[in-house]
């Protein structure tokens, strides 16, 4: 809904991070409409909070203010845009035809955090623990990657 409009504005400037934040917020609203309160909260906290702060921080750190030029080949535009339009219209038609009448009631799924926690810590306990290891590795990798020049310079000194 609202995210779709924001996405078209996303193409133009380098600070498209702001429109991406708008898309994330709209998606959180969608999750809330679907009855997934926990996912909506996690979406706001993790995506719109942590990841987008990281993005904006890196954009400001790298001073990425210049506009990029967009020059595409004419053949790609001539072939690609009609092809993409027909493909998307066909996909939309097929999806609407085959599942057009089934409806998702708003707020149908009782997805409180309690039941999600039951599921998460009983059936999905092993993936949860593996996830923690993954995050640890990611943090260590990020630290190593981002601080390599300093450590090399420190060794050189």
């Amino acid at each position: 809904m609202g995210g779709a409009v924001n996405l078209l504005a996303q193409r133009h400037p380098i600070n498209s991070a702001l429109s991406l934040i708008a898309v994330m917020a709209a998606l959180a609203g969608e999750y809330l409409l679907l009855g997934a309160e926990f996912v909506a909260a996690v979406q706001v906290i993790v995506y719109a909070g942590a990841i987008m702060v990281l993005f904006v921080f890196v954009i400001m750190l790298l001073n990425a203010g210049e506009e990029e030029r967009t020059k595409g080949s004419r053949v790609a535009i001539l072939l690609g845009v009609p092809g993409m339009l027909t493909g998307s219209v066909l996909t939309a038609w097929v999806v609407l035809r085959h599942s057009g009448t089934e409806a998702v009631p708003i707020g149908a799924l009782p997805g409180p955090p309690k039941e999600i926690a039951q599921l998460l810590f009983h059936e999905f306990l092993l993936p949860f623990e593996v996830t923690s290891v993954l995050i640890l590795i990611a943090i260590m990798g990020a630290v190593v990657l981002a601080s390599k020049p300093e450590s090399a310079a420190g060794k050189a000194d």
Binding site: A4, L7, L34, V46, I51, A103, L109, L134
Partner: protein, 104 residues
């Protein structure tokens, strides 16, 4: 509870639209940070279809899976942005057309 109904296919179409926008941004953008943001957009589109199907089939496992996707996306964002910083330090550019060699 509000008794209004939204068809599942609308959610699927919005999800597909988000994913397609991510793919288009990934292909036509030249700025490496913007490319990275379009990857996040694709992940968000997939998350939306996960939640829509979870609500449609009354299966909570879909929401748990969305949680895992978000965690992996966060880890990926941290590592990817660190890589971007490292690339910018050595190349002094963010344009992917100028980053064509792994080794300087």
């Amino acid at each position: 509870m509000v008794q209004s109904y939204v068809p599942l296919s609308y959610y699927l179409l919005l999800s597909g639209f988000l994913f397609a926008c991510g793919v288009v941004g990934f292909l036509i953008k030249r700025n490496i940070i913007t490319i990275f943001m379009s990857i996040e957009l694709m992940l968000n589109g997939v998350n939306l279809s996960f939640v829509a199907f979870a609500a449609h089939w009354h299966a909570l496992a879909g929401q748990v899976f969305v949680f895992f996707v978000m965690v992996v996306a966060a880890a990926e964002a941290a590592v990817g942005l660190a890589i971007i910083i490292a690339v910018y330090r050595t190349r002094e550019t963010l344009n992917v057309d100028q980053v064509n060699l792994l080794k300087l």
